[in-house]
């Protein structure tokens, strides 16, 4: 029986099988950000130990970083957390990409774009969206702070081996449909816990034809259906993306690496614990209507009627709509929006800004809308400027902000006020996620752009 890609990477990293227990897995790369690392460093200090392999750890602040200026964090608690990360990195000898420097950005944008995340690696970070890095063909998993301490101390974690699932998407995507829509569609079919206990591999012709940016978006959202990780086998698209980037192998080492990486694919006779297939032609631009990312519809569809919801789930369904101030059976297209957010580790890459700019070019931002356009890294921001996209955005009444997690999670000044409706390229529409009482509709950069110029939820395919 053949092996899946997940199985190959997993087996290659087993240090030992603990008797009647988990697997001790070796970790090639630990990313650390300011929010989930301070208590882990404290644990090392308590025990009087050093970081075991500091060269395998990369740290940067992103969650608390403001997107309007980066001279100072006004909130003293957030400021202290960012300063603590810097101090911990100095004390323990870890590479640190400081706020406001050209190396900084959202960890899940910076890792792949600097080729710090490479095919075949095991990658962890105290952040659920670590699944993003799976797009380069790595096994990348979110972990808790105790596990961050474990990796700092030993470069290992103890994990129960997940099951394997393959999600195939076949066919050609329709115009106006992006990787974000594919992810939101899959989630709506499988639910937010549909892949709990699994590592997902995405495969099929649709996935093969996605750009690297699109694949990173798809892998990013794996966690939203409960998956431990979301892997995509590396191919020429992956290699072309990584080649020449800052930390990629160079010269002969590159050729040798690519030769090895080409082995990183599921064998033809690999067997998965679960396998599902979707058709690209069934996928339209998507939006969410509820308070979990699986509660979604096509942008031109109505919210399900109450009788279409299973009886046991009706109370939960109504509670979600009550928070969102939506009604069962209602269409959302045409509903006024207050905030538009382009960015986050989901959609803060160059392709997302190109897509957004392609829609708003020659149009104007609607007056009723506050728009936050936040690149995922300083590299992305520089590329936006190099390509002249910033000028297109400015001409349409938009302002390009500074790299940050920004309005994804209400840990920095970019918070959506209570009761306001935001259409957002981020990953979570949870109650209070973008600010206490804030209401979030998740969508692709194209749909957010179309809505930003009309001021109402808009199907990007219908924009005249």
């Amino acid at each position: 029986m053949g092996l899946s890609l997940f199985e190959k990477i997993w087996r290659g990293h087993v240090v030992q099988e603990v008797t009647d227990g988990p697997t001790q897995l070796y970790i090639d790369r630990l990313y650390a950000h300011e929010v989930t690392s301070p208590q882990a460093f404290d644990t090392l200090r308590d025990k009087g130990i050093k970081v075991f392999r500091p060269e395998k750890v990369i740290a940067m602040p992103d969650h608390n970083t403001p997107s309007d200026q980066q001279e100072v964090i006004h909130d003293p608690v957030g400021r202290k957390q960012v300063e603590t990360l810097k101090r911990n990195c100095e004390e323990f000898g870890i590479r640190h990409f400081a706020m406001g420097t050209k190396d900084n950005g959202i960890i899940h944008v910076v890792g792949p774009e600097k080729a710090l995340s490479l095919p075949g690696m095991t990658i962890v970070c105290g952040d659920s969206h670590t699944s993003t890095h799976g797009a380069v063909g790595a096994l990348a998993m979110g972990i808790g702070t105790s596990e961050v301490a474990e990796v700092l101390a030993s470069q290992c974690i103890l994990q129960q081996k997940p099951k394997s699932m393959r999600i195939n998407v076949e066919g050609k995507l329709q115009p106006g449909v992006t990787a974000k829509d594919v992810a939101l569609y899959i989630m709506a079919q499988l639910t937010t816990s549909g892949a709990t206990g699994y590592v997902v591999e995405y495969a099929g012709s649709t996935i093969r034809n996605l750009s690297m940016e699109g694949r990173l978006t798809l892998s990013n959202l794996s966690i939203e259906m409960g998956s431990r990780a979301g892997i995509i086998a590396p191919d020429d698209t992956t290699f072309a993306y990584l080649k020449g980037r800052e930390y990629a192998p160079k010269g002969e080492a590159w050729d040798k690496a690519v030769e090895q990486w080409r082995q990183l694919r599921s064998d033809d006779d690999a067997v998965f614990d679960s396998e599902v297939t979707f058709r690209a032609e069934d996928i339209k631009p998507r939006i969410t209507y509820g308070t979990n990312p699986g509660a979604g519809i096509a942008v031109d569809e109505a919210i399900p009627a109450l009788e279409d919801i299973a009886e046991a789930e009706r109370n939960g369904f109504l509670a979600q709509l009550d928070y969102m101030q939506f009604k069962p059976g209602e269409k959302l297209e045409g509903k006024p929006v207050d905030y538009c957010f382009l960015g986050a580790c989901t959609n803060g890459r160059i392709e997302d800004f190109r897509a957004f700019a392609s829609v708003v070019k020659g149009r104007r931002k609607a007056d009723n809308v506050v728009a936050w356009l936040v690149p995922g890294s300083w590299l992305v921001r520089q590329q936006i400027i190099d390509e002249g996209i910033d000028k297109v955005l400015e001409a349409a009444g938009f302002e390009l902000r500074l790299p940050s997690c920004s309005a994804c999670l209400a840990m920095n000044p970019d918070k959506v006020p209570a009761g306001k409706l935001a259409i957002s390229t981020s990953n979570r529409n949870f109650v209070g996620r973008q600010g206490p009482g804030a209401r979030t509709v998740l969508a692709s950069p194209l749909t957010v752009a179309a809505s930003a110029v009309t001021g109402v939820i808009t199907d990007p395919r219908k924009l005249k």
Partner: protein, 204 residues
């Protein structure tokens, strides 16, 4: 976080019948900027935005504020949460597990847990117990009928018992983790003891 050796927990329960309760609800992001390890700080933030309104007043009809469930957990009282399915989805924030532990809860019973949160609970010495949906629903009914009803979680025998009905279920936990819980041992100590194996792996 405080570590207490696990054996048998026999306690009344708090029913938190919210399905897909994500870790943003268990602890809102604004409490994540703290660098403290103070259990009380996180315990006070547990389910904060459901427990309190925007002016900081307790929300009277939220289960944790109802008189029969508002008593802070201590031995035999409210040490167990019976939770809705897919408990702890979303963000990997261990702060959610710190909030539960800091509040004084030792066991969370549900029909399913999100993977990262389940690991975090175990690492914070809160035991996640997976039961069947039928058993979970029976517990909700029992507690609704009698908030003083007790549930027994027997770690050595891996059983969970509704003391009102006498119904019992076996729950899964691997032998290694069970030993850790019963002896208050951390994964990190195990890993530090195995550094020779790690170096061996690196030299392969």
């Amino acid at each position: 976080m405080a570590k207490a050796k696990f054996n048998i927990v026999l306690s009344t329960c708090i029913p938190v019948a919210i399905d897909n309760c994500n870790t943003d609800l268990i602890i809102p992001a604004r409490y994540l900027a703290s660098t403290t390890r103070d259990p009380k700080f996180f315990g006070d933030a547990f389910m904060h935005d459901l427990r309190y309104d925007s002016e900081g007043k307790p929300v009277a009809d939220f289960v944790m504020n109802r008189p029969e469930f508002s008593e802070a957990p201590h031995e035999g009282v409210h040490e167990i949460i019976v939770a809705g399915q897919n408990w702890g989805s979303g963000s990997s924030r261990e702060h959610a597990a710190w909030a539960i532990a800091g509040y004084g809860v030792r066991v969370v019973i549900s029909s399913s847990f999100a993977d990262i949160h389940r690991n975090n609970l175990l690492n914070c010495f809160v035991l996640p117990v997976v039961v069947s949906t039928d058993f979970q629903q029976e517990l909700f009914r029992t507690i609704a009928a009698n908030p003083q009803a007790k549930v027994k979680v027997d770690v050595p025998n891996q059983t969970v018992t509704n003391m009102e009905t006498g119904h019992s279920e076996h729950f899964e936990i691997n032998g290694y983790k069970k030993y850790c819980l019963m002896n208050a041992l951390d994964d990190i100590d195990f890993l530090l003891e195995n550094r020779d194996k790690i170096e061996e792996y690196e030299n392969r």
